[in-house]
């Protein structure tokens, strides 16, 4: 999977010779029309935060006819969005940190160190990669209940940090380490450095690309976690932000559309901003491995 190819500019002389068939203007027009279902929902989401509730349905205008800041106050009061945001943020950071440390170490060992049954052990780890969370969540739910850890963040953090997603990260690091030339490490070994120091001081500083991939994949995955908090968490202030978004109702149970869309925008916009600034990293990382579902 050659991620580096993405950044390479397309060949100068386009053999497709579109010009013959449709002018560049028509092409731009097609690209713009195709972009509507991808971009319109996001713009609509942000701008509808400033619409009165009556304007959300029965209208297709993007900009509010009547601007209002009504929703802004309710975003943090109707539902404890701030604690939920913090829960999502800190659990994602912890999961990402655990994943990077353990997958880099294991990836290096699988790529370079000799120990008994190395390939069988690697296959065991790898074979859990495609295991759906819906399959594993029933036993994990039972163990969590037996340990008295329901309605805590433990069942959100530990299974995701050490489960099938970790296997994917191990795979990413192993593939990268296999592609590194061995000469540097051999030189360091002759200098008397031990294997772990070689890994920590020589190999890791060269591993920015796979580290970025694993960080982006893991963080997005953890931040967007949904079924786990739905199953394990009851208290609103312990929920993560994804489930929190579904809890926007007034005291009569009527949905507060604009506040919900505001909260949703606040969840999505930081990620989108980081994406826009680090577009290349994101595209390369997410094109390397699947992040679906």
């Amino acid at each position: 999977m050659s991620a580096d190819v993405i950044t390479r500019p397309a060949p100068r002389r386009s053999v497709w010779k579109t010009r013959k068939f449709l002018g560049p203007l028509a092409l731009y027009l097609a690209l713009v029309v195709l972009a509507i279902p991808f971009v319109y929902p996001l713009l609509w989401m942000v701008l509808s935060t400033f619409k009165p509730i009556a304007e959300i349905y029965g209208a297709s205008n993007l900009f509010p006819n009547q601007w209002t800041l009504d929703a802004l106050g309710k975003i943090f009061t109707v539902n404890p969005l701030l604690p939920q945001y913090w829960n999502s943020l800190y659990t994602s950071v912890v999961i990402t940190a655990i994943t990077v440390v353990f997958s880099a170490m294991a990836g290096y060992a699988f790529a370079r160190l000799r120990f008994p049954h190395v390939n069988k052990v690697f296959f065991l780890v790898l074979s859990t990669m495609f295991l759906p969370v819906e399959v594993t969540i029933i036993p994990i739910f039972r163990w969590t209940a037996e340990l008295g850890l329901l309605n805590t963040h433990w069942p959100l953090i530990i299974p995701m940090a050490f489960g099938p997603k970790l296997a994917i990260a191990v795979f990413i690091f192993r593939q990268f380490f296999l592609s590194l030339p061995r000469e540097l490490e051999e030189a360091a070994m002759l200098d008397g450095m031990n294997r772990f120091s070689i890994f920590a001081r020589i190999v890791m500083p060269l591993s920015g690309a796979p580290t970025a991939t694993v960080v982006i994949l893991t963080f997005l995955n953890a931040f967007n976690m949904y079924i786990e908090p739905l199953v394990f968490i009851r208290s609103p202030e312990l929920l993560t932000v994804g489930i929190g978004l579904t809890r926007y109702q007034d005291q009569y149970g009527d949905p507060l559309y604009n506040a919900q869309l505001g909260a949703t925008s606040l969840t999505v916009l930081p990620v989108l901003l980081v994406f826009l600034f680090a577009q290349r990293q994101f595209v390369e990382s997410l094109s390397r491995v699947g992040l679906k579902g």
Partner: protein
């Protein structure tokens, strides 16, 4: 891990070499311990446990956990809801895989050229990939409501749009569309990378020989990108089988069972009806489907794929 442990300037021999090999093995085992234990505890063990649970009538509400053999499976395959769920899952997965692959290939082909602003369009098509699924689904819930923005827009042209997510004939189609726009950007960048690695000399030669653009794609480009096509097919299939958020959020498997895919049905049976034994049996079926499809596609890959990278 002590630093410079066993640091010897000269190459060690005999006994000390064996000691070094032992140290390397110990270090290796220590470094892989976390993921290996993780795979055992959160991968292998849950699989064995749902295998065991699926043979029991386990309902915490009734306070029972009784061995019933294969009864859950007999009950499952005899139930019309489950049969419908399998059919819906099949239709959903096929729909998502076909549309995502074709649209991704189309977008990648359009973007595979040097033009001002092409990066902007790539970012636009890719943006939903990084957006939380719950946010994406929530927004489309608004847009596709019977009096939502989409139908209001269509009304301008005198078209009365359906109640997209609540109509038995449109609900599955609507969910497929939502999933398509969410995920197609990822497949698009995979295809874009593959297309850019197709040597332009080959395409030029085809052009000189008078091959039409479609013929060039079929005879030159497509065979060269089959490894990527295969990868996209596997990733999209597994992703579609795991679908949960849009179903739970938008349709709850309804109307009727029109969108009751197996991954959602499992959640409904286990965590809503509290029938964990039956839910585990569904989990086993889901696991077997994922396993068979993955193995099937891998073996297909051997025969079909042009060049193994």
């Amino acid at each position: 891990m002590g630093q410079h442990a066993g640091a010897l300037p000269a190459a060690p021999r005999g006994a000390s070499r064996r000691a070094m090999a032992r140290r390397e093995a110990a270090l290796g085992i220590g470094m892989v311990a976390g993921p290996v234990l993780g795979a055992l505890v959160f991968g292998v063990a849950p699989l064995l446990f749902i295998g065991w649970y699926s043979l029991n009538d386990w309902s915490p509400l009734a306070g029972k956990f009784d061995f019933v053999g294969l009864n859950n499976f007999v009950q499952l395959f005899g139930s019309s809801t489950f049969q419908t769920s399998l059919a819906v899952t099949g239709a959903f997965v096929v729909g998502v895989v076909i549309t995502e692959t074709i649209v991704a290939l189309l977008l990648a082909t359009l973007l595979n050229r040097r033009m001002r602003g092409i990066g902007l369009f790539r970012a636009a098509y890719f943006a939903p990939v990084v957006v939380a699924y719950v946010a994406w689904a929530l927004v489309w819930d608004y847009l596709l409501a019977s009096n939502g923005a989409v139908n209001t827009f269509l009304a301008n042209f005198g078209i009365a749009g359906p109640d997209w997510l609540n109509s038995p004939s449109w609900a599955l189609f609507s969910v497929i569309l939502i999933v398509l726009f969410k995920g197609v950007g990822q497949n698009m960048v995979l295809f874009l990378a593959a297309l850019q690695s197709v040597p332009s000399e080959l395409l030029e030669a085809g052009e000189i020989d008078g091959a039409s653009p479609f013929a060039r794609f079929r005879a030159i480009t497509f065979p060269l990108i089959t490894p990527t096509v295969m990868m996209v097919l596997i990733l999209t299939t597994v992703g579609a089988l795991n679908i949960f958020v849009p179903i739970q959020l938008l349709t709850h498997g309804g109307p009727g069972n029109a969108t009751n895919v197996i991954s959602y049905y499992l959640y409904e049976v286990a965590f809503k009806q509290q029938e964990f034994g039956l839910g585990s049996a569904i989990g086993i079926v889901l696991f077997v489907i994922v396993l068979l499809l993955t193995l099937g596609q891998w073996s297909l890959r051997k025969r079909w794929v042009h060049d193994e990278r």
